[in-house]
């Protein structure tokens, strides 16, 4: 199964590199405003086709791009109840601090666990290839972090119950 990890991440990387071509574009509807068109979504001519890249039924990435912004939504593999709870809490922790993350979206898109919103202002200030590297690194590390947390939870639970049951 981990044989698909590398092709999955390469496919996501290539697609991101192709989709993250953003330029400054003011709102056509309201003067002197600048809105991320992928979030507004009313002008069809400014949106690109959304694409999905899936590794299996539980892990996929949705990439929606537009002329000045791109939205990347990730669905993370959750094998059991503990991982579901850990993932939810971890994502919530990060999304509450979305301002410090800069490219994170405060709410995930429907059906996904976490979303990034990258605008042309971000690509002007940061290197595009580094942004792509960051998203890929994030996807790799999330799975490892959640597994580590799950092991820690199980280890702590075992130690606690051992100590408790020593009394009997």
């Amino acid at each position: 199964m981990s044989a698909t990890l590398k092709p999955y991440l390469t496919a996501v990387r290539h697609t991101l590199a192709s989709a993250m071509c953003l330029e400054h574009f003011s709102s056509q509807v309201v003067e002197r405003y600048n809105k991320p068109e992928v979030e507004v979504g009313t002008s069809k001519e400014l949106l690109l086709n959304p694409v999905i890249i899936s590794r299996n039924a539980n892990e996929k990435v949705l990439i929606e791009s537009s002329i000045n912004s791109i939205r990347i939504s990730i669905m993370i593999k959750q094998a059991d109840e503990i991982e579901k709870i850990l993932c939810k809490k971890f994502m919530r922790f990060m999304m509450m601090r979305a301002e410090n993350f800069i490219v994170l979206r405060r709410k995930p898109v429907d059906g996904y666990h976490i979303s990034f919103l990258i605008t042309n202002f971000h690509t002007e200030q940061m290197y595009k290839h580094k942004l792509v590297d960051f998203v890929i690194y994030f996807m790799e590390e999330i799975d490892k972090e959640i597994s580590e947390m799950k092991l820690a939870v199980n280890a702590r639970a075992r130690i606690c119950s051992e100590e408790f049951l020593k009394r009997f």
């Binding site: 044989a3 698909t4 092709p7 999955y8 390469t10 496919a11 290539h14 697609t15 590199a17 192709s18 989709a19 071509c21 509807v29 002008s43 069809k44 001519e45 690109l48 086709n49 694409v51 999905i52 890249i53 899936s54 590794r55 299996n56 039924a57 996929k60 791009s65």
Partner: protein, 150 residues
């Protein structure tokens, strides 16, 4: 005064739709192919003539068709062909395609990702890699920007 001055229904009219500058989607003028022939494709697959089966499916892709059923049928047929080709032969098959075919192939690969089934996504990832090696970033950009969706 006979005029109804208390009605404010005029406020609910969306006047932006009458703006001449509005973007209008190009209406589909040309006739689109009706999709690949299932019998022929199955016959080619049974004879293990994968390159021809794939070429047939790609040349008859119902691009820009408005009939969703036709598109779905073509999609399932194409996915059948893609999954039938073994991992070792993918590179050779892709090498036999023209660049236009590779663009259409990329479109089908991305569509195939939307319906993950047993091991299909892993196989499609291999196809994606091989098609990318030949088509390059341009093939992906054309998937994202082409209005003629497969």
């Amino acid at each position: 005064m006979a005029k109804n001055t208390s009605s404010s229904a005029f406020r609910k009219i969306d006047i932006d739709q009458y703006n001449e500058d509005n973007f209008k989607e190009d209406e589909a003028e040309q006739a689109v192919p009706t999709g690949p022939d299932e019998g022929e494709v199955c016959a080619l697959l049974n004879q293990a003539r994968y390159v021809e089966a794939l070429k047939h499916v790609l040349n008859n892709a119902p691009l820009g068709s408005t009939d969703q059923q036709v598109k779905d049928n073509a999609l399932s047929l194409t996915l059948k062909v893609l999954i039938a080709v073994k991992s070792a032969q993918i590179e050779e098959v892709v090498g036999n395609l023209s660049l236009d075919d590779i663009d259409i192939l990329m479109k089908y690969i991305y569509r195939g990702f939307e319906y993950p089934s047993e091991g299909s996504s892993g196989h499609l990832l291999l196809w994606h890699e091989k098609a990318f090696n030949i088509g390059g970033a341009g093939s992906i950009v054309r998937v994202l920007s082409d209005r003629m969706k497969v």
